[in-house]
Subunit: 137 residues, 2 copies
């Protein structure tokens, strides 16, 4: 056996299968959820559907432009849906699609890992940054 590499993470598998970076699912997915606001937006929508202005209020510092862009990205990938209610002041609701819901468990796993190990990462960073970069002599 190969020593505990989770299935799907085996590099040689990818290579053997003829790795194509542009079509790589992982690259594609990480490009989306790895951007500045998507993970946050996703988790804001995880609890319940929300309206545009509501999201804008609760997500700290996001600009309307970025919020629109993030939501369009989620919509384009089929992770969220957009519902327009033609009320007097227009109201638009965003909600996670069934597909969008399925990403929550794996994403949650990573979030849990991050929360759990961030202290150690910070210590590692502090150590690394304190190291002398130019060896004295």
């Amino acid at each position: 056996m190969s020593g505990g590499v989770p299935p799907g993470l085996s590099f040689s598998e990818w290579q053997a299968a003829g790795f194509d970076a542009t079509a790589c699912p992982v690259r594609n997915v990480l490009d989306r959820i790895g951007d500045k606001w998507t993970a946050l937006t996703l988790s804001a929508l995880a609890e319940r559907p929300r309206r545009f202005s509501e999201l804008h209020r609760i997500i700290p510092d996001i600009s309307k432009r970025m919020l629109t862009q993030t939501l369009r990205g989620l919509e384009r990938d089929g992770l969220a849906t957009r519902h327009v209610f033609p009320t007097k002041p227009p109201s638009v609701e965003y909600r996670l699609s069934p597909l969008g819901r399925t990403v929550l468990p794996p994403l949650g796993g990573l979030v849990a890992w991050a929360a759990e190990n961030f202290p150690e990462i910070r210590r590692a960073r502090a150590r690394f940054d304190a190291m002398p970069e130019t060896g004295g002599e």
Copy 2:
């Protein structure tokens, strides 16, 4: 109950705990593994330790600059270690640290999700892109 939101992903929790984006573990972690080469590098190191040139050969299209930068990032965060062997042509080996190993399962979960759902995401994209952006009349 809140309807199946994984623990740690609850937005209201974060808000209640006084969300600070700069210190946010999730943002920090996603910034690292969400970049262009880190996930790939991580999975190349998952199987076994590798030397710099070896990584450079097997990771398609990465430049030395990016490879160095990616490895430094992993080293800085304590996810990988660097071992220099002062042989005649110098040889440097990179290997995952114990901490680095612990990220493989959650990362693997996301990779599996990506692989499994990418076809559907692509269909969603095709649908979205085929939609008339300016409603005719």
